[in-house]
């Protein structure tokens, strides 16, 4: 890359010529505040928070969208710049429903943080009264437009990263708002509930639907047997809520915290992930051998499943009929476990702790009730669990380690990597390879399907068969991949799709990251952490999970048996794209 010479706050440096002033400054350890900017996704220069003085330019310039040029002289900390930044914040606050102490983003809010850093002490403008209209009809996402600062991040994440476009700017001037089409509720449009908009919103205008109260109530109901399960990605995210480093593995502490909260049993969704692999692996083998519909596409990500129902209904027969792991868990808990423990299934209350907001919609699907009862009663996110732990005054960092309970708590490394893009594919290949060849697989790591690129393809030899596989993460990438298949430009036997960029580790319910431009980097830490756990496990193939084996021996019979079908499989519904 060519370089150009720039001077920023007196520091002379040669920087790549495709840098913006913001990038150049940050590479020199000079920070410029930003609010709307999100690299590669929202580079619109909307908020002007990042203004700087540029020699020979008449007005202040927005550093996030200004390319560097040879000889450029920039000043980032002058009276004029400081004054402008203050004015911008004051103007935002004059059109903002300020109620920090009761706000969903309290202590996680970029606006709050900037006001502190820029020393804002008062709002010298007549405030414009924001009408408070809360849209909380969606089971996943709550919208409060009175907090919205119109930065546009959610609009562009939803449109560009997720390929949905459920929300956009409407009207103009002082009436400008971010809304779904025709001012409808998010619940009435093709929103997939992924929560990626929540993750990037700098303020409290978007948040998850909080279901913690329902869990507290169940916990204090003596008639209920309340059990909890935790998804793989939760254990490498939760620690961040308690000041630990990104991706810190906290499995043992998490289990202890859940026991202290009063759950009767603490189980692991990883157990059900292993179960999913047995069912889905056998489904793949069956489709390959018996001319079934191909490519087979994974169905464990509810954001992706809903996306498929809205936008690619012609692919619904390609979706695996397997329920997602936590739903399988619920069905097994209310049948096998209930029977074995002698508990009335109507008294079992299943709580799922998930990195995902879309699972809140999923658990309300009427078809997911294989036992006659809802498989899962409530889904809470990693963030909501953290809130409960804080509310209960548990000193998380000081907790000892505990183990998951039997008989739904055992897992293998294959179940763990479900939390990262490529993980379901790799877990499935480990099992399918052994089932098909009947030989023990020596090298279990399929590195070809690892990584964080949006779409990855590989060809894998299983027995005599060359199996063509693809992995996509973020529904926008799924769209790109499926469009190519529709046009006949690509074809595969097996595809893994996860709705969120990076997979569940970056789900819409994971801990907030204050610097939103680090969101897509923190994936790396959380992903590494999951792969480390996998490597440390004695068993790394789903079909070796002893509790899963017992489940088949004692209850389900064979994979894809009639009983397995009734409890562990589902069907899909075509939905409108509007």
């Amino acid at each position: 890359m060519d370089k150009v010479n720039v001077t920023i706050d007196g520091i002379v440096a040669a920087v790549p010529s495709d840098y913006t002033v913001l990038e150049a400054a940050r590479s020199l350890n000079i920070d410029i505040p930003t609010l709307c900017f999100l690299k590669g996704i929202n580079e619109v220069g909307a908020c002007r928070m990042c203004v700087v003085e540029v020699e020979r330019a008449r007005t202040l310039q927005a550093a996030c969208v200004l390319p560097v040029s040879e000889g450029m002289v920039v000043r980032t900390n002058t009276p004029k710049v400081r004054e402008a930044r203050k004015t911008i914040l004051e103007l935002i606050l004059a059109r903002h429903n300020r109620e920090c102490t009761t706000c969903s983003k309290n202590l996680n809010c970029e606006l709050q943080k900037l006001c502190d850093e820029m020393n804002i002490k008062e709002v010298p403008y007549q405030p414009y009264e924001m009408k408070v209209e809360i849209d909380d009809l969606s089971p996943c996402v709550v919208r409060d437009t009175s907090k919205c600062i119109l930065c546009g991040r959610c609009v562009n994440v939803c449109k560009k990263v997720q390929g949905v476009g459920a929300i956009d700017f409407s009207k103009r001037g002082i009436n400008t708002m971010v809304t779904p089409a025709f001012g409808q509720s998010l619940n009435d449009v093709a929103c997939i509930g992924c929560g990626q908009c929540i993750k990037v919103c700098p303020v409290g205008a978007l948040s998850e639907k909080d279901d913690t109260e329902e869990v507290w109530q169940a916990l204090s109901n003596p008639d209920l047997h309340v059990i909890v399960q935790t998804a793989p990605a939760v254990r490498v995210g939760l620690g961040e809520e308690f000041g630990m480093e990104k991706g810190a593995p906290v499995t043992g502490k998490m289990v202890s915290a859940l026991k202290r909260l009063g759950f009767d049993k603490v189980f692991d969704t990883d157990f059900a992930a292993d179960l999913t692999i047995i069912e889905e692996g056998n489904e793949l083998i069956d489709r390959l051998n018996n001319g079934g519909k191909l490519p087979l596409i994974t169905s464990c990500s509810p954001g992706w499943v809903k996306y498929c129902e809205h936008f690619f209904p012609d692919f619904l027969d390609n979706l695996s009929t397997c329920k997602s792991p936590h739903e399988m868990f619920g069905a097994i808990a209310k049948s096998y476990y209930a029977k074995k423990e002698g508990i009335d299934p109507s008294k079992i209350f299943v709580v799922s702790v998930m990195p995902c907001t879309a699972k809140k919609f999923e658990c309300k699907r009427p078809e997911l009730s294989g036992t006659g009862y809802a498989d899962v009663d409530v889904v809470i996110t990693t963030r909501e669990l953290a809130r409960m732990i804080k509310q209960a005054r548990i000193n998380f960092a000081k907790l000892e380690d505990s183990k998951f309970d039997k008989i739904l708590g055992e897992s293998t490394g294959a179940g763990v990597i479900f939390g990262v893009t490529g993980g379901v594919m790799e877990a499935a290949l480990r099992t399918v390879a052994e089932v098909v060849t009947g030989k023990e697989l020596q090298n279990v790591e399929y590195t070809a399907v690892r990584g964080l690129e949006g779409i990855r393809e590989a060809q894998v030899k299983i027995g005599d068969l060359d199996v063509k596989v693809a992995v996509a993460n973020g529904t926008g990438n799924a769209k790109a991949l499926l469009d190519r298949i529709r046009k006949g430009e690509a074809n595969y036997h097996f595809i893994e799709i996860m709705g969120c960029p990076g997979g569940c580790i970056n789900g819409g319910g994971q801990p907030f990251i204050m610097d939103k431009n680090e969101i897509y980097m923190s994936e790396v830490d959380r992903a590494d952490s999951l792969y480390n756990i996998d490597r440390s496990m004695p068993l790394r193939k789903s079909h070796l999970n002893p509790e899963v084996k017992t489940l088949y021996d004692e209850y389900l019979g064979k994979p894809n048996s009639e009983k397995a079908h009734k409890l562990l499989h589902t069907h899909y519904t075509k939905r409108s794209r509007f």
């Binding site: 449109k159 956009d168 700017f169 409407s170 009436n175 089409a181 509007f578």
Partner: protein, 174 residues
């Protein structure tokens, strides 16, 4: 299984209820308009302009069709449709009320008249036609009778020296 949100009867006061007849008679016309402009660069504004001219407003079914054909989110199209004051999302009401918000009327309290009308007609300031399709409310510049300010006009008939209290009485006549 039912399909949620397929506009069979609508709660939001848009024209979805009339989608059926739009579908029958107008959808073909809408399609012709869309395909005519589809290949040009930035086709959306031309399409919306032509919808407005042909139908007198932007029928929701036509916007949905546009979204499908251009592979552009409906929320984005709705955003453009509500950004430009030239576009309307409902057919014009039976009666048109124009309120002068020019300087002379404004200083004499025209804004209060306008707000009173919004309240009486249950409009939120964005939609300009009432749910029952009876009135369309618009703000205009000088109507040329500043002596009577504040002034409004209903279907060509001028009402002057208004106060908010007089508004409900006048509306009753229609």
């Amino acid at each position: 299984m039912s399909e949620p949100n397929v506009n069979n009867g609508c709660r939001c006061g848009c024209d979805a209820g009339s989608k059926m007849d739009v579908q029958n008679s107008k959808l073909k016309e809408a399609d012709e308009i869309i395909y005519k402009h589809k290949t040009q660069k930035g086709p959306l504004l031309s399409i919306l302009n032509e919808f407005q001219d042909s139908f007198g407003y932007l029928p929701r079914a036509a916007l949905e069709e546009t979204s499908k054909v251009l592979d552009m989110p409906l929320a984005e199209i709705y955003g453009v449709a509500t950004f430009y004051s030239r576009f309307t999302l409902k057919p014009r009401g039976e009666h048109t009320i124009s309120v002068c918000l020019g300087t002379a009327c404004y200083v004499k309290g025209a804004k209060d008249i306008f707000d009173e009308l919004l309240k009486e007609l249950k409009l939120d300031g964005s939609g300009e036609t009432t749910d029952d399709g009876k009135f369309t409310l618009e703000a205009t510049r000088c109507l040329g009778c500043c002596g009577l300010s504040p002034v409004m006009m209903i279907d060509g008939e001028v009402y002057g020296r208004l106060t908010p209290e007089k508004v409900p009485e006048i509306l009753k006549k229609y």
